[in-house]
Amino acid sequence: MNEVQKDQLLDEVQNLWDNRSRFVTITCVDLVDEFDLIYSFDHNMELVNFRVKADKDRPFISISGIYAASFLVENEIQDQFGLKFENLEPDFKGFLLLSQDGPRTPMLRKVGERGKQEDVV
């Protein structure tokens, strides 16, 4: 799978928009030190995936200005992993799926939650 640098993400996504690719989803993987964001698009029935590394403590770029449909999954990632997206429209501020009194960032990995040595990463 190709890796795209954060500063080239919008250009890459704009190219996909220009060649009429369909947005499929974004998958966030917690690598403990950082996040892996895997962007998936469909171009003529072929799945196009690429990954972008995201710092945990810095807001990331939203692609909702190009693919409006991405707002839902970006809000979901914001809820579940606590990764903020800049220029996200509409922005549910971490409360798309979670309620005000619910747990925060439930998808973040916690060392030891899977028992034994499994999560000592």
Partner: protein, 359 residues
């Protein structure tokens, strides 16, 4: 001058079998904006799967959705089979096709019944569910359960169909087709149905593509997008062509599903007639390694699974993008400009499955 009012549509509403809220901004009787409110049935299944042994996740994947449970288990098993490099016997692949198309038949018939009920056509609702019952009986006879079958497993299937059952299935499919053909005409021709659905909730071909619509919502807007065309499993060995309509409105979405019931019955017959002899399961061992994406076609559209192997028998990441999740942005595009009275039918026309969408 008209005033803007916000009307909360849901989370409890007669057209919603499951809870979702749409905050509708309304001027007079016209909807001008819709804002979704999710999270009422979020169960954290993705996190749960990461804490489980990967074999146990088959049952978890099946419970993402009660209606299309079999295809969830097939997709999950297919991901694990790729990671373990397990070859599935051809007979098991054909049996998987039979049960996944049966899921499509009963899901579409369930939806067609709800759709008829949404505009007050109660007799049609009951007729659709009467026919659906026969497909559920087939699932029970072949898999042991009405909706949650638990027959799909890593490496193949748990249960086989014997020769008598195979013949009985072919006969039953022909009878379901005959019964359904007797009741399907109103979905195409009935004056009241057309009055409530033609030109309502239009999604253009361009919007369907740019907003990432999938399944019958995409195909009703004139795009022949169907993941089964990728030829996963035995789909490359059967004659298949996606059902496409050009209208982009609620009527077209209904017509796509009616024709897809017939197409699914046809696929079941083909698979049963060509059912290869042999084993139904390959034993497996080894260690999960790598990551994989797998797409399959649910009754509601394309579903995507991502599985990343962990260091032991657990998964580092388990991600599901369900079709309803993809069809919410197109729904938000369909609503502005419609009459408030048309909202229930438009919302229902995407066949919303909220438990799926929230996982």
């Amino acid at each position: 001058m008209s005033f803007r009012t916000i009307i909360p549509f849901g989370p409890q509403h007669p057209v919603f079998p499951e809870p979702i809220q749409l905050k509708l901004a309304v001027e007079d009787e016209k909807v001008v904006e819709a804002i979704p409110g999710l999270g009422y049935v979020h169960r954290g299944l993705e996190k749960g799967a990461e804490l489980n042994d990967y074999v146990k996740n088959i049952y978890l994947a099946e419970r993402v959705c009660g209606i299309c449970s079999f295809i969830h288990s097939w997709t999950y098993c297919s991901c694990i089979e790729t990671l373990l490099q397990v070859e599935v016997p051809p007979r098991a692949e054909f049996l998987r096709l039979v049960f996944s198309e049966l899921s499509r038949v009963h899901s579409h018939l369930l939806w067609l019944g709800l759709y008829a009920d949404a505009f007050g056509f109660e007799s049609l609702f009951m007729q659709c569910w009467r026919v659906r019952e026969r497909s559920l009986d087939m699932q029970e006879a072949g898999g042991g359960g009405r909706v949650i079958l638990s027959t799909c497993t890593i490496g193949g299937m748990r249960k086989d169909l014997d020769e008598d059952m195979r013949r009985a299935f072919i006969k039953e499919v022909a009878e379901i087709r005959r019964d359904f053909q007797q009741i399907m005409t109103p979905f195409f021709e009935d004056y009241s149905i057309k009055k409530r659905t033609v030109g309502i909730g239009v999604l253009t071909k361009e919007d369907a593509q740019s907003l990432g619509a999938v399944g019958p919502v995409l195909r009703a807007s004139g795009v022949a997008g169907d993941t089964r065309l990728l030829g996963y499993g035995p789909y490359r060995e059967v004659d298949f062509e996606p059902v496409v309509e050009a209208g982009g409105d609620c009527h077209s979405r209904g017509k796509v599903r009616v024709r897809e019931v017939l197409r699914a019955l046809d696929l079941i017959t083909q698979a049963l007639e060509r059912l290869p002899e042999g084993e139904i399961k390959t034993n497996f061992r080894g260690k999960l390694n790598g990551e994989v994406f797998q797409r399959m076609e649910q009754p509601r559209g394309e579903m995507l699974y991502y599985v990343k192997a962990g260091s032991n028998r657990s998964l580092d990441r388990f991600r599901i993008r369900t079709p309803t999740f993809a069809n919410i942005p197109p729904l938000l595009k369909m609503l502005p400009g419609c009459d408030l009275a048309d909202v229930p039918v438009i919302v229902l026309s995407i066949d919303p499955c909220i438990s799926c969408a929230e996982r």
